[in-house]
Symmetry: C2
Subunit: 646 residues, 2 copies
């Protein structure tokens, strides 16, 4: 939000769109059988309630503004940034609306899709900006319906920049933000939380500061829930504005927009767009250091920190909104120095919870996608509901088509060159593949000196928890047990345990040891002999790309491998080894060999043929040691297998 105009207006619409279900009636049924024992009340609150609760509790908070990226690669990076900056605990993020960038489309770079990604995949409370000028009512209703469908619950209602210099009001059109606010309330009742823009210095196009305040009041009275302000350079500017707002009866939350100066050029551009004047004392500091980015950023951080402190100390401000310009360092630095960057190691569930309203009752996932949660969410996004916390009664839950699989959110974040450095420019045999897996586990550089920081089956570097198993994992990968997922057994650690804990305090968490790997048919033959000895203790599923399936699981029942016991609640079992979804995962896991790895190499090249060979001939194996109170026996199983082979 850099430049917004507003005027009074009288446009309004009458017909309701989106049927009878538009009144935000997502409230869950009261029930003495709650499929999702409420671990995180927050998850069920709407944004304005969260804001109110934070204000009442005196808890300071922050929010982060991003704009949509221009390219697919930039989108991948932005999503990683959402994950990293989301870890600091923003109350929400918001995504601006770029009319030029087809903002409501299905492109991976559109405002709509980026906001959806933030909600669904990153689990962030998100506000989608939306501008209304030069658009038809149908267009706008369509955007809002789509936003609702994609799980977005908050809209920042803006006018947008009129096209052309000679802009004139359209009769019955959307001329001002207030028209959009009214339209949203008319068509969607109370479904959305609505935010509007405030201008501490008055909007540059407004007749006067006072007239602009009156326009703001109109927007609020038309149904806006809170206000985010344009950036400003002095805390007094905001505090005076806030008092003036209150004086004319605006009582909703007003959130100051903070712009940490990050560079000379970005500042100049922003000032030009927003028609704001940079105070002389700031110009005086910046001009002499204008070519020294680091110096300017340090100064910007200092300036922002001291202004934020004044705002917070005033007692009038509970939350701060940051214009990040999609950059991480300056904003994070300011937040950390203010002490409101709060990395909370506690997790409501062992996996990151999506913020999509449809998924709020979701409390069980198959373990297979543990390292590819975005793929899981993507592939299950068409599920209408999550009865029993997940896929309900169907014996074959539809995990999306594998053709969807190659879509944007599932692809590797790293460019081809980097992947080749990590996974080998040229493979000389299966052993070179073993070597890649081993380097990923150990964190040691490969023979060309590059660290292997990701694998096709893992979005991220190795989980801390997996580190507990590092030594054993290294040993087995070196010998061709190519591990892609594992967890140690846990027998009742406190739910506050920094590594394996999750859920509210006062509880205990448990795990069954789990190991999942690709391996050759020779090893599988030996493994099956060994597993006979462990028949009553270890459950296994062994499958190849053709679907040949060997298992000792008696039926299609899932095996709970992670569960927690909490005060006053039912048992929560968020991770299962589910035989049905394993077959969907199998398709994905084998396809990743080809799509992410083999295709790095020329067709018919020896490297490609090695990966193809593994794809065609290896088995995907999962093992669960059911006897969680005893020492994990899966390593013994593997050792016995190697011994049998020798």
């Amino acid at each position: 939000m850099v430049n917004e105009t507003q005027h009074t207006c009288s446009a309004s619409s009458s017909s309701k769109s989106d049927g009878g279900s538009s009144s935000g009636s997502e409230s869950s049924k009261d029930s003495s059988r709650c499929s999702t024992p409420v671990l995180d009340a927050d998850r069920h609150e709407r944004l304005r309630e969260k804001m109110r609760r934070r204000q009442d509790s005196g808890d300071k908070w922050f929010s982060l503004e991003f704009f949509p990226p221009r390219t697919a690669n930039a989108a991948v990076n932005l999503i990683s940034r959402f994950d990293r900056m989301g870890a600091g605990g923003p109350l929400f993020i918001d995504v601006t609306w770029h009319p030029a960038g087809d903002p409501g489309s299905d492109k991976e770079t559109s405002s709509m899709i980026i906001a959806n990604t933030a909600v669904s995949y990153c689990g962030l409370e998100t506000i989608l900006h939306m501008t209304c000028c030069n658009q038809t009512k149908d267009d706008i209703t369509g955007h809002l319906q789509k936003a609702k469908r994609l799980g977005l619950k908050n809209i920042m209602a803006l006018r947008g920049d009129p096209a052309g210099e000679e802009w004139e009001e359209e009769k019955d059109g959307f001329n001002y933000a207030v028209d959009l606010v009214k339209h949203i309330r008319n068509e969607f009742d109370d479904y959305f939380d609505i935010c509007v823009a405030g201008y501490p210095k008055g909007h540059p196009e407004a007749e006067s500061y006072e007239a602009d305040l009156r326009h703001l009041k109109e927007k609020v009275f038309a149904g806006a829930d809170f206000i985010i302000t344009q950036l400003f350079f002095r805390s007094e500017t905001f505090l005076k504005f806030m008092k003036d707002c209150q004086a004319i009866g605006i009582t909703c939350p007003i959130i100051p927009g903070i712009f940490p100066i990050q560079g000379y050029h970005s500042l100049r551009q922003l000032v030009k767009l927003s028609k704001l004047e940079v105070p002389q004392e700031i110009k005086d500091v910046i001009e002499p250091i204008k070519d020294n980015d680091a110096a300017i950023r340090n100064y910007g951080v200092e300036l922002a920190v001291s202004m934020c402190r004044e705002l917070l100390d005033s007692g009038m401000v509970h939350g701060l909104h940051f214009y990040t310009l999609n950059r991480e360092v300056a904003t994070t630095e300011v937040l950390k120095r203010l002490g409101i960057w709060k990395e909370d190691p506690r997790r409501p569930l062992p996996w990151a919870v999506s913020a999509h309203p449809k998924r709020r009752v979701e409390d069980v996932r198959p373990i297979f996608w543990a390292s590819r949660p975005k793929s899981y969410i993507y592939r299950t996004q068409e599920w209408d509901d999550f009865p029993n916390g997940r896929w309900g009664n169907s014996s074959s839950p539809a995990f999306g088509e594998l053709k969807d699989y190659y879509l944007f959110y599932l692809k590797s974040k790293s460019p081809r060159e980097e992947l080749l450095k990590m996974w080998g420019e040229e493979l000389t045999g299966e052993e070179s593949v073993f070597e890649v897996f081993t380097c990923y586990i150990t964190g040691e550089p490969n023979k060309n000196g590059y660290k292997v920081t990701c694998m096709p089956w893992n979005d991220d570097p190795l989980a801390t928890e997996t580190n507990l198993l590092k030594e054993q994992l290294e040993k087995v990968n070196r010998r061709g047990i190519l591990t892609i997922n594992s967890q140690p057994n846990i027998n009742g650690k406190p739910s506050t345990d920094p590594i394996v804990g999750w859920g509210p305090s006062g509880g205990y968490v448990f795990q069954k040891a789990y190991l999942e790997f690709f391996t050759s048919s020779e090893i599988v033959t030996a493994l099956l002999k060994v597993l006979k000895k462990y028949e009553l203790r270890v459950n296994y599923h062994i499958v190849n790309v053709k679907g040949q399936n060997i298992t000792n699981a008696p039926d299609l029942q899932p095996n709970a491998v992670t569960w927690g016991i909490f005060p006053g609640r039912e048992i929560i079992q968020p991770t299962v080894v589910d035989p049905v979804s394993f077959l969907s995962w199998k398709d994905e896991a084998f396809a990743l060999w080809i799509e992410q790895w083999a295709k790095l190499y020329e067709e018919e090249s020896p490297s490609r043929m090695i990966i193809q060979y593994i794809h065609d001939n290896y088995y995907l194996v999962n093992l669960v040691d059911n006897d969680f109170p005893l020492e994990n026996c899966l390593w013994q199983v593997v050792d016995d297998t190697f011994e049998l082979l020798n």
Copy 2:
């Protein structure tokens, strides 16, 4: 089944009753989310499948025949006998049909209701006999529909004794058992398993032994699943019969009916009814000892054991059917001596599972009715299904009306005089009530020398598990904490543990400590102060008869207090403290003071007023210690409370 006639006949019916759902389509949906992780495959099999499986595995089995009682008190005793004899592991029991006793009615002594009791409350696989002669098609269809509705899945199809000497076939009527078999198959497809009677000596009214065999074959070919025979006195008689059956193409199971001679008169009566001849060698033994019941029974047991051994040793017999005459000793003795009485200490769930098909997915119950399971089943019998293993989505599950409460299956088994001896002919104050509770716990006689073996809130003597808590329970009851339910905490004992274990082997069971008691408002006031110290650890619900409800449970979520972890399965949590059903239990628990105890005394008598005072003024309290891995703190809570009071 003592006297049955059969002939060929041609009656058959055409129209289907009972709508489209009559084809036994109770099969559970295949699902990767199984609300009842299958602990006991047996529970989902029909009788003929169980029989087949036992035969295939070479496992010998037995079944027990009972007749309906004449009086309500006799029914109470018979149900206790079902429980005791059910413990020996019969494959099924069967209940005879007494046309003179209004067998299809809702009376507590009717064949229909006794069979329903055996299924629903005692968890026994049950066959209901049904005779057809002198009945209209509509009557019979009505009985069958009712049987189905009451959870009965097996019918023994019989002709019954014609009324009057001059019986003649009715045209288009039900003249023979085969008519009934055909009718059942016509009207209910494959819903029922059907049993028919076989006569090792030929039916007394049959033209010949061979003709009778042909009639039997007709019954089988009309749709009967297996045969139970009339009693006989020599194993050769049965073995010849069986070979003759096989010779003419009868391949279904044929189960020999065994009659252990239990007394001179009952034998004479039976012989008269069945028109069988007692072999001379038996008469020779019995006549001289005809006035010595014990001697005759001993002889009868010997005779039955040796005949059964011969049958089992022949390799042709896998199961034995016992005509118990509703007596326990002789049959149990025979079974124990044969080694096929198998008390299995393993329990599929910590509570006894009902055999009603509607309840087969039930896997969760509130802990409150733990000592009154029949009351729980009775009060929930109208529930249509058990989604999520219990009461589904409603926030206020209907636990039946309290007026139902006084009905037959919920009343005390002991007569008034016995109860007065146990609970006091005359009470002198609240302390005399404390004394009764204390004696129940300790097992010591009361001051009049009588042991207190039951209480209004407990159908049975103290559970073995409660014995683990005996010392503490005695101490607190003596001081006016009148405990009615409790369980110790358990932190991962093997599922095969003889006292607290349940579920399949290889698992681990857990419990949170639970204590439920009545106590005075003075003690509650102190208790509430003490509980502040335990706020994060102990959940409590404290309620009086008027419904005043004090709790620190944050919402209406149930608290799982018993759960188990098993190989290859989801977590099973069969017992919960459920805040919603606690309020229904509260009504029942308070009503028991009046209905079972106060009403033993004259109106206005001091004893009655003491109980009435407790009913009106005491609170019902339940406490859960959520920290199951630590030492149970509930005793400390109670000690602290007494300390505060001193």
